[in-house]
Symmetry: C2
Subunit: 227 residues, 2 copies
């Protein structure tokens, strides 16, 4: 049984890391059972064995892997089917999608929900969360999140590549979901679980795909605790 | 021998379509010889046999294929190695990259060089080019291109996913070039061939990769006519 250190809020059932969600979906895709351990930002000692301080971290017998991308590569190597990448080129191309999500979706969503995140993190994490994020943005969390009703329109426009792909295929992975779907959907789970604010257009063409993602793997995403 | 209808300028040796360049690179990748026929925007009769009015169009014996994506799929099917996609997932993931380029890079570069393009298109194409593009933008070509020295900074920032990928692998295709490289490099060839304005940061990390792309396939990109 694989163990996953999984970012949790004050409510231990609230799991909201966009990177841990990629790993959750990837594990479910492989049909690999997982034991998740709720982890908070300040629990650095608990994952010191991984040699770094961020989740996801998995332990598989004697093997420890950190970083969502490295974990996906590890899972594909251990268990090639059903495929996450489907070969070297599928993996290389998925890396572009991962980079796009990390440079467009993650910072975009952060500016829309970062103050909401403060409300869900564990009490012991709140000081760390506020100071680390305010230092990163150079503004208060309240200032960063202000005006999101207007700003969300530009964020939604930036998701055009997803809409364009979904016109030609049902999943980012083509005929079936792949790790590309996990990257994007895992990132959307971050907002879904922590905020009532809709980062994607409720009437837009990404919704039907995300709804199907929520239903996959026995409704893993659908069943997730939300605020 | 495959025949390619290839967008040309007043100078028939100037080939500048971002979509035809994807096809040129893909054909060279496969080692398939090609006979290119210079084509202008108003030569719709010349490709009427394809059932539509845009290039690239290829004719391979009795088979006609139009649209750069469909052509890449056709080439991969006819000749699986060296791979453009490397399987169904590689192809599905490349489709995302194609969508990103078409929704971010192509419109971004258009606003930086569209007035320069008018100078290189064939005389008989100039009226069509100006009126179709001005209608699309709702402004004159001169107005669209104005202020590019400032605006290019935002465009360059939008290429972050490419820079991020190239930190971890030498090509967008991973250890070797794939159609993902052709999509991005083909689009950059559009600007390289038609404008002296540098759309990418001359000191940035995309340049070394693009220089290697120019040298591939016997220096196909390097040897291309530029203004």
């Amino acid at each position: 049984m694989i163990t996953l250190y999984d970012l949790a809020g004050a409510d231990p059932a609230l799991r909201f890391s966009p990177y841990c969600w990629r790993t959750r979906f990837a594990l479910a895709h492989k049909g690999m059972p997982v034991d998740t351990i709720p982890w908070r930002f300040t629990d650095t000692d608990a994952i010191a064995f991984s040699g770094q301080g961020r989740v996801p971290v998995i332990r598989d017998g004697g093997v420890v892997v950190s970083d969502s991308w490295a974990i996906a590569e590890y899972l594909e190597e251990q268990c090639p089917t059903p495929a996450l990448f489907g070969g070297a080129l599928g993996r290389a191309h998925a890396r572009f999608i991962n980079s796009w999500v990390d440079s467009v979706m993650v910072p975009g969503i952060a500016t829309l929900i970062v103050r909401d995140l403060l409300d869900v993190v564990a009490d012991k994490d709140k000081d760390y969360f506020r100071s680390s994020r305010e230092s990163r943005f150079g503004r208060t969390l309240e200032e960063v999140q202000a005006g999101r009703e207007q700003r969300v329109l530009a964020f939604r426009a930036s998701l055009a590549p997803i809409r364009l792909v979904l016109r030609t295929q049902p999943w980012l992975g083509g005929a079936a979901p792949s790790y590309a779907d996990h990257i994007v959907a895992g990132t959307l789970m971050w907002a879904r679980c922590t905020s009532k604010f809709s980062v994607i257009d409720p009437q837009g063409s990404i919704v039907p795909w995300f709804e199907r993602m929520l239903d996959l793997y026995g409704g893993l995403g659908r069943a997730a605790r939300t605020v």
